[in-house]
């Protein structure tokens, strides 16, 4: 077993809003991923970890440090991550 080749885990506390918060029953979900990780990796892990969110997740955006992020974007350790269901302000 070669421990040196394993990718270290990092954890992000994902903020939830609106129906996502209600479905999950919590305001944040901790998601642990092998690094380096992308936004897409986080989406897949989140859907597996909280299946109730899976449907809404597909329609939702992910924000990293307060900016809309694409799935291929790398996730820096310590970044603030939020799940944004379609917005309805105004």
């Amino acid at each position: 077993m070669n421990l040196g080749s394993e990718r270290p885990l990092a954890t992000w506390s994902v903020r939830l809003f609106a129906r996502a918060k209600d479905l999950a029953g919590t305001e944040t979900i901790d998601v642990a991923l092998p690094t380096p990780a992308t936004v897409g990796d986080l989406r897949r892990q989140l859907a597996g970890q909280c299946p109730k969110l899976a449907g809404l997740l597909e329609r939702s955006a992910v924000a990293v440090d307060g900016d809309f992020a694409r799935d291929e974007q790398p996730l820096a350790t310590g970044a603030e991550v939020a799940l944004l269901p379609p917005v309805s302000g105004g």
């Binding site: 809003f17 609106a18 129906r19 449907g55 924000a63 307060g66 939020a82 917005v87 302000g89």
Partner: protein, 139 residues
């Protein structure tokens, strides 16, 4: 100027704030809580934001509007929390030298605000049930 607030929106103060000697036009948009949504009676609304990001997006929108039109001033204010029927949820107030600029900038700002600013609305229906509104997502 951009602001999120839990207080009643004082659009009169905002309007006075944007008036400028070089601006011959002021256009104000107010969004208010309607008594019906898609034919269904509403009792009240709750607005929730991701506040840090919402302010950031509103500041970006302000900068974008200033880059596109020679406006005097713009105020973007969104209310959060519980709103009764008829209350003002959002105000966009713009001054500009000429009216076409003020109309175009105000309309662009409210259209984009509704697309890009992380704020969500929960409808509290008159029948006692509630739904978060997420355009494009079935309940």
């Amino acid at each position: 100027m951009v602001r999120l607030t839990r207080d009643v929106i004082d659009y009169h103060a905002l309007t006075e704030q944007v008036r400028r000697p070089g601006c011959g036009a002021v256009v104000t948009f107010l969004g208010t809580v309607r008594d019906m949504t898609d034919g269904r009676p509403t009792a009240s609304l709750d607005y929730e934001a991701y506040p840090e990001m919402a302010e950031k997006q509103m500041l970006r929108l302000e900068a974008e509007v200033r880059a596109r039109w020679p406006i005097g001033e713009i105020c973007l204010v969104h209310r959060l929390g519980h709103l009764s029927l008829g209350e003002i949820s959002v105000a966009v107030v713009v001054s500009a030298p000429h009216r076409a600029q003020a109309f175009d900038a105000c309309r662009y700002a409210i259209d984009r605000l509704k697309e890009t600013v992380p704020i969500w609305k929960k409808e509290n229906w008159a029948d006692g049930t509630s739904d978060w509104i997420h355009p494009g997502v079935n309940r």
